[in-house]
């Protein structure tokens, strides 16, 4: 059997079937990815509920049940729990390109994040990178601007500070949803 332009129909059907099978497998299940650091599965749909499991950024979960802004999900380890929907993304978080590491495959996500975290952490201790310092020298950038950028990049927000900030502002999973203004 042949198609309009003479290619075997079986090949056409085969190509479409394989592509549709691949894509429908990915789309058929409601899969989401953890996009926020410090994400935990909760026993109930509440920020103050007991922690059931911790999930790293990039972890894949399957949606089991929706409850407004909270979702019941199943982790890769098979643990069920509630998570604030804002902590999940519908697409896999983008891994950073780190030179020889291929960012689009396998387990490079975790490796890249570690590399990035190490680089950022080291930066806060030693100030401007040698490359930036060399650029600043070539441009004749003022000491004040260099010191300012060093200070900007050295300023850090700890997970504890962030949690207190969100709680105080009744933001995200700490929202009471009783009205806009606090």
């Amino acid at each position: 059997m042949r198609g309009m332009k003479g290619e075997p129909m079986g090949i056409k059907v085969g190509i479409c079937a394989v592509v549709l099978m691949c894509t429908s497998l990915a789309w058929g299940e409601e899969i989401r990815w953890v996009s926020s650091a410090g994400t935990t599965l909760k026993a109930e749909a509440s920020a103050t509920s007991e922690n059931v499991a911790e999930l790293p950024v990039g972890a894949e979960v399957t949606v089991v049940e929706t409850g407004g802004r909270w979702l019941m999900v199943r982790s890769a380890a098979g643990v069920n729990g509630w998570v604030y929907a804002g902590r999940l993304a519908e697409t896999k978080p983008v891994a950073e390109v780190t030179g020889s590491d291929d960012p689009l495959f396998g387990d490079s996500m975790k490796k890249s994040q570690i590399t990035t975290a190490k680089a950022d952490s080291a930066r806060s201790i030693r100030g401007l990178s040698p490359e930036t310092a060399a650029y600043a020298k070539s441009r004749g950038t003022s000491e004040l601007s260099k010191k300012s950028l060093e200070k900007i990049m050295g300023r850090k927000v700890s997970p504890t500070e962030l949690k207190s900030f969100l709680k105080e502002g009744k933001l995200g999973e700490y929202a009471q949803m009783t009205g806009g203004n606090q």
Binding site: I31, L104, A119, A133, R139, S148, G169, G172, G180, Q182
Partner: protein, 290 residues
């Protein structure tokens, strides 16, 4: 057959499955470059390549150079540590919910009379004292910062300059290479990006994309996404009377009326937006410090 291959490629690009550069090379080898399919493939390959052009370390180096030039041009940070830490808290809360949550972002209020905010590749984000000063609550500040996060997440500045392509294949920039041939390329790249970010502005479609991303990120963090529309409406009122337009959001962004119309249309996707947080009182404490 070629049409089926194009259909297959389109479906694979749209799907969440990983696609490799080798895949594009293999397909290109069986399609004539000057054919219609070949041109579509070339475009798809370019789109694919643009997302994997420059590694994070090089992106940061370019961004830090731009940040230094931005500080020189617009002014150094406002000298108030509490205010700077507050803006970092708002920004970090948003960053956890943006499309690129895996890198570290830094935020600063610059002592500048020009109403402006801008982001450099790698994640340093600035808002001017003048723009901060027209805001009324934390949700409005969140809208502005989330718009800038949208640019960094989508790597808009990197995609906007052809010169960034010059750094491809040259490997990661090192301190030694900045002093050599790569130094010229780096300076050219940064110079080109400066023109885009500080004078000409990014492509208008990138701005619209960052606007929509701002609403989504603000909403996911718990802020009222409509607050960003109110910021743009304030800027619209100020636009005619503003003395200093050079380097401001007026001169580097698409017409505010169009941006506001698009965002209002998007607001329908957030039916509970009015119940989201504004956080007035905390913001007012810091507003006095600017």
């Amino acid at each position: 057959m070629k049409h089926y291959l194009i259909l297959a490629i389109a479906l694979l690009i749209c799907s969440p499955l990983p696609v490799s550069a080798d895949f594009f090379s293999a397909i290109q080898s069986i399609v004539k470059p000057d054919s219609k399919e070949g041109k579509i493939l070339a475009g798809a390959t370019q789109m694919f390549a643009s997302s994997r052009d420059i590694d994070y370390k090089t992106e940061k180096t370019i961004g830090e150079g731009l940040a230094l030039d931005g500080l020189t041009r617009f002014g150094n940070p406002v000298n108030n540590e509490q205010l700077q830490q507050y803006v970092n808290l708002v920004g970090t809360a948003l960053a956890a919910n943006c499309k690129r949550s895996t890198i570290t972002y830094s935020f600063a209020v610059l002592d500048s009379p020009v109403q402006n905010a801008f982001a450099v590749p790698g994640g340093v984000i600035f808002i001017s004292r003048a723009l901060f000063g027209i805001l009324d609550n934390e949700a409005e500040l969140a809208g502005v910062l989330a718009h800038e996060l949208g640019h960094v997440a989508a790597k808009h500045a990197l995609k906007s300059t052809q010169r960034a392509q010059l750094l491809q294949g040259a490997g990661t920039i090192t301190a030694a290479s900045v002093g050599g041939g790569q130094g010229k390329k780096l300076a050219d790249t940064i110079g080109s990006m400066q023109t885009v970010l500080f004078d000409k502005g990014l492509d208008k479609d990138m701005e619209y994309e960052a606007d929509l991303a701002a609403m989504e990120t603000a909403y996911r963090t718990g802020y009222d996404p409509a607050a960003f529309i109110r910021v743009l409406e304030k800027l619209q009122k100020l636009e005619n009377t503003s003395k200093e337009k050079n380097g401001s959001w007026f001169s580097t962004h698409p017409p505010l009326a169009e941006r506001i119309a698009r965002l209002k249309a998007q607001l329908a996707t957030y039916p509970d937006y009015a119940k989201q947080a504004h956080v007035d009182s905390r913001f007012q404490r810091y507003l006095k410090m600017k």
